[in-house]
Each structure stands twice: as C-alpha cells, then as structure tokens.
C-alpha cells in the first residue's frame, strides 16, 4: 500500500478543526465559571446547567418543542409511507418529476418558505399563528427527508416477498401489515427520528410561524439579547447538540442495519 502524503493529513486535520471547532467551543464555555464567552477560562462549574431546572420559561419552550417534534415525526412519517410505497412499488407516469417536486423543500431556503407560509396562513387561510402552524410548517420540510429514508429502505427488498404474501392468500392491506411494514421497520424508525430531530432543531420557520408560545430554538435566540444569560444559553445549546447528535447517529445506525444485500433470498 502507498503511504498517504503528509500534506493530506494536515488538510484533513484542518478540515475537521474548522468543521467542529466552533461547535465544540460551546460546551467548553458552558462549563466556564464566568459570564463572558472569552479566554482565558476562569474555572469549572455546572451551575449554568443546574440553573436551567428552575428556568420555567425555558422548560415551557422545551415542552413545546418536544410536543411539536413528536407530532411532526409521527405525521410526516405516516404521510411519507404511502407516498414512498407508491413511488417504489408502482410504475407511475411521471414518477421522477413527482419525486423531484417532493424533494424541493430541501433546496428552498427556509426563510423563503417561512415568509411564504406566513402569508398563506395569515392572508389566505386566516388562521391564528400557534404551535400548530409551526408543526404544519415542520411537516412540510420533514417530508422529503422521511421520504428518502423510507424509499431507500423499500427499494432494498425483494418485491417477490410481497407477491408471495398475496399468493398465500393475503389481501393488499394484510400484506402491508404482515410483510411490508415489518421489513420496512428500520426505515420507519429512522424516519421517525429524522422528523423529530429536524423539527426539534428548526429555527427559521418556527420563528415566523409561532404565535405567543416559543419553541426551544426561538427561546434560545431571544435570550441572546441578554449578555449575562449567555452561559445559560450555551449550556442549553450544548445539551441540544448532544441529544441531536445521538439521535442522528441512532437513526443512521438503524437505517443501515439489516439493509438486504442484492442476492435473491439473502438477508
């Protein structure tokens, strides 16, 4: 084997440092015993974390975010399953343009989406802004992620498994419940986690579409105006960072596990 040139190693290290350095500064300052996020560090403390437990407005925002994230992950996965099935199982006329169209929210800037949704909700539908409108906006941006996770899973298994189920006396619904869903389960779980984490972390659309109640990222942003609360904000951000990372890694592990190989009849 050839030895990699040294400069590539340097490049890789610098690359990783730029990517993760700023993010890793946040947990560092969150345990710093001082009110300003500057060097030198003044000492180790967990008081920013412990004070979070008594911060009712933050806890309320956390609660709101969790509620929305759960609803969004359930609904967007439920909506994505039939869509992914239709695209992977049937020869649909115009399937390719339909898929690209459904993937559009991935590339539309969320600020454009947020403004557009705001106009639609207030001017055309005349609905009051609330956590529900935030959830609706989040479902819109989660769908393409859920779709692509589910489609890759559904494309992965032998279509004759479903044919065999039909042949053995099951109707379309029984086949879905007894064969398709159990086999797609890793994809479904990964789609649920994806939907949860995207909704939980999302700021722009939540900022535009929320009424009087805050989600956690919106709350976090509102706290940035008060310099003395910065360490608390950093502590909260660190926690979100850790939980998000764990969930994303979990979603990916579950999605990858048990993806069947190309061999017929092989697992």
């Amino acid at each position: 084997m050839l030895r990699r040139p040294d400069f590539l190693w340097v490049y890789a290290v610098v690359f990783i440092a730029f990517l993760y350095g700023p993010v890793l500064l946040m947990p560092l300052f969150s345990v710093n015993d001082g009110n300003f996020a500057t060097f030198p560090l003044k000492g180790f403390t967990l008081r920013h974390y412990s004070s979070m437990a008594t911060n009712t407005s933050m806890l309320l925002a956390l609660q709101n975010s969790l509620k929305i994230a759960v609803i969004v992950s359930l609904l967007s996965t439920a909506l994505a399953i039939p869509a992914a099935l239709a695209i992977t199982r049937f020869r649909l006329p115009g399937a390719a343009p339909i898929v690209s169209f459904m993937m559009l929210p991935l590339v539309i800037p969320s600020i454009v989406m947020g403004v557009a949704l705001l106009v639609i909700i207030l001017k055309f539908l005349g609905i009051q802004l609330s956590l529900w409108t935030v959830a609706a906006g989040h479902i819109l941006i989660c769908l393409p992620y859920c779709m692509s996770v589910l489609m890759s899973r559904l494309e992965g298994f032998d279509p004759s498994l479903e044919e065999a189920s039909r042949d053995l006396g099951c109707n379309a619904w029984q086949t879905f419940v007894r064969v398709t869903l159990p086999l797609a389960m890793p994809g479904v779980i990964s789609s649920l986690l994806m939907g949860f984490i995207i909704s939980f972390d999302e700021f722009v659309i939540a900022f535009f579409l929320t009424g009087t109640e805050n989600t956690l990222p919106v709350y976090l942003y509102s706290q940035l105006r008060f310099p003395n609360r910065l360490p608390g904000t950093l502590a909260l951000g660190s926690l979100i960072l850790i939980v998000s990372a764990v969930l994303v890694v979990l979603a990916e592990i579950i999605r990858k596990r048990g993806v069947p190989s190309g061999n017929p009849g092989d697992l």
Binding site: S160, D167, L168, G265
Partner: protein, 362 residues
C-alpha cells in the same frame, strides 16, 4: 368435472406498453400433470406463470382454473400457490411461521394449523428445523421451505418459477428427483418453468416449448425429442444435426426427400411440406453411423473427415466436418462401437436409415 382440464387458456395475450410478450396462448393443462414451460430467457414463460398465479393480468384472452373464470380474481383468491425463483422466504419470520403464513387466512384451529405445518415439514424433510430463522438456512433448505409454504395451502395447482436454478449442480439433480417424487405423492398439478431442457425432460409429463412469446410445441419428453415439429424445437431439445435443402419429393406414406449442398436426404416428413419448399433434414447424433465406404443408394450419405473424438466411457462423441459444405457434424457412438474410426480420419462416410431422420420446414 374431474375430466375437464385443471387449467384452460384461450387466446391469452400479454403486452407491456407496446411490447407484446405473449401471443395468443391457447392450451390446456390436465389434472395431476407435471407440466413444464420450457424456453430461453425472455420467451415469456415466467410471465405466463405469473398470469396463472394472478400476479399479472392478461391483456386479452380467457383463463379458466378448475372450470372457474379467473378474470378479476386476485392472486390471494386463486387456488394456486407459487414457489418463487428467489424463494421469497420472509426474513422476519422463522421456518414454521413462513410455512404457516398462508394458513392464517384459512378458517383453521390452532392445533389443526400446527399439525399441517408439521406435516409439511416432514414432507420436505425439514423436521426439527421449524424454529430456525430464515437466514440460518442453506439454499436447498430455503427451497424446501418455499415448497412447503406453498403446498401446505393445498393448492389445486402448484406454480414453480425456475426453483432449481439457484442450486449447485449436484443439489439440483437431487432436488429434481425429490420434486418428481413429491408431485407423485401429493398428486397436485405442477406447472414448472425452466430454461434447462434436461431438467424439463427429466421431470415432466408434458412440456410446452416457448420462444419469443409463442408456444412452439406441446408434447411428452419423448415426443419432443423424437418428433420435433420445427427446426427451433429440434435444435433446442438435445443436439441435432441439420442439413438444408429443397423438397424434391413427398410420398403419400409420410416420407419426403430433399436435395441440398450436402447431398440427398430422406426422412419422416412434417405434414404440409410440398416439393420446392425450403426444408432441413434433421438427424440425432446417436442415429448416425460412421462408414468406411459410401452407401450404395447415395441417400442420407455425407462424406466427412474426423476432426476430434472424445471417449466418455458409456459413449464416444465424434466431431466431423462435411467435405461438401464444411459444416460440423456431431456423431455419438456406443461403448463398444467398432465404427470408431482409427487411423484414417479422412475419407469417411456418415449414413443413417430413412426412418431415423426427419424432414422439417426450414
């Protein structure tokens, strides 16, 4: 009703878009038969099987199974079960659950269902493996599970889509014998799709040879081998030497003569041939004798030179080149044949009796 065919196909046509994959398929399959659909890949045999199963719908034509019209009857309500080429063993279920899958939609008590699963496990010699997971099974075992899963539903027709093609040669030959014995035991009509002519000859009561969406000939293995009706069937089943020419004479007794670049040939004629038609003389390698001198009448005689011989114990194969046309001719001789040419490889003659050869439209 019991004498009526179990499957009756009439004018079945299947189109995928503008591509027609099955043309006017009309034939019957009898009760209790081991029937094979044989043809090269892409000939439409699997599509026909999937139409019987109800997985595909015919574009035109009617299909009766056990006297009942099948139009609009979905796969789950047909008296057929299928063994898929990939076996389609459900990976999230164990062997017992796989085999019992089809029983859950039948009104069976738990003990009755369990008894039938156990019976099916015995039938395919998988006793004691009921709790195994699908991924712990070998190829042959998967095949048995797929068979048991289909048979346990007691279908009127069992459909098999190249079930042996994924197995290695030795296992395949074992399974052929078992499959044949199994069919005799259960007495169910088997419709078996294969591209392997040897497999079809070994297993079947009758074979339908298919090519490009048409059924060319339906006959017993012996009938297909000894009386192929067309050049394509003659070439597809076993090996066959062909000599082209034009019909010179058709006898009322069913014999005909052709004249071509390789010589004059006489054989049993396909009905419908007339003098002047393009035709081929077809002769099996084992019916040809190698001679040292030209036969007296000059009919069914080809001058040839030996190119290669291989001794196979129970038989010998000789490859010769026709002197007049340069075409390769295969000859097979028995173990103790004294016509095995030694020394002089050139100046040989090949001959056969008129009753041994066929004259087919070419």
């Amino acid at each position: 009703m019991t004498d009526a065919p179990i499957i009756a196909m009439s004018g079945l046509v299947k189109r995928f878009g503008t591509l027609t994959v099955l043309h006017d398929i009309t034939f019957d399959i009898e009760r209790g038969e081991f029937f094979s659909l044989l043809g090269p890949s892409g000939c439409g045999k699997t599509t026909l099987l999937r139409i019987l199963a109800g997985i595909e719908q015919p574009s035109e034509g009617t299909l009766l199974i056990d006297g009942q019209p099948m139009a609009g009857v979905p796969a789950n309500r047909r008296p057929t079960n299928m063994v898929f080429q990939s076996y389609a063993i459900f990976p999230h279920l164990n062997v017992e659950e796989n085999i019992g899958y089809g029983l859950r939609n039948m009104a069976l008590s738990k003990s009755e269902a369990a008894a039938r699963v156990a019976e099916a496990l015995t039938l395919v010699k998988l006793e004691g493996l009921g709790k195994r997971n699908a991924h712990q099974l070998s190829g042959g075992q998967r095949q048995r599970v797929a068979l048991a899963r289909a048979l346990v539903c007691r279908p009127k027709v069992l459909l098999l889509d190249e079930p042996l093609s994924a197995l290695d040669k030795k296992l395949r030959e074992e399974m052929q014998l078992e499959l044949r014995a199994l069919q005799r035991t259960v007495g169910i009509t088997f419709v078996f799709v294969t591209h392997d002519q040897e497999e079809a000859l070994t297993l079947s009561d009758r074979i339908a040879v298919m090519d490009k969406g048409h059924v060319l000939q339906i006959d017993s293995p012996r009938g297909l081998y000894e009386r192929p009706e067309s050049r394509t069937v003659a070439e597809f089943i076993g090996s066959m030497n062909l000599f082209s020419g034009r019909v010179t004479q058709v006898d009322p007794g069913g014999m005909a003569e052709i004249d071509g670049p390789a010589g004059r040939f006489r054989g049993i004629a396909r009905p419908g041939l007339a003098p002047g038609d393009a035709a081929v003389a077809a002769i099996r390698p084992e019916r040809i004798r190698i001679l040292r001198a030209a036969p007296a009448d000059g009919i069914n005689a080809v001058a040839a030179a030996l190119q290669a011989s291989s001794y196979l114990g129970d038989r010998s194969l000789h490859v010769l080149v026709g002197t007049a046309t340069g075409q390769q001719i295969t000859v097979q001789s028995g173990p103790a044949a004294d016509d095995t040419p030694e020394g002089g490889a050139a100046g040989l003659w090949l001959g056969w009796g008129a009753e041994a050869g066929l004259i087919l439209p070419g």
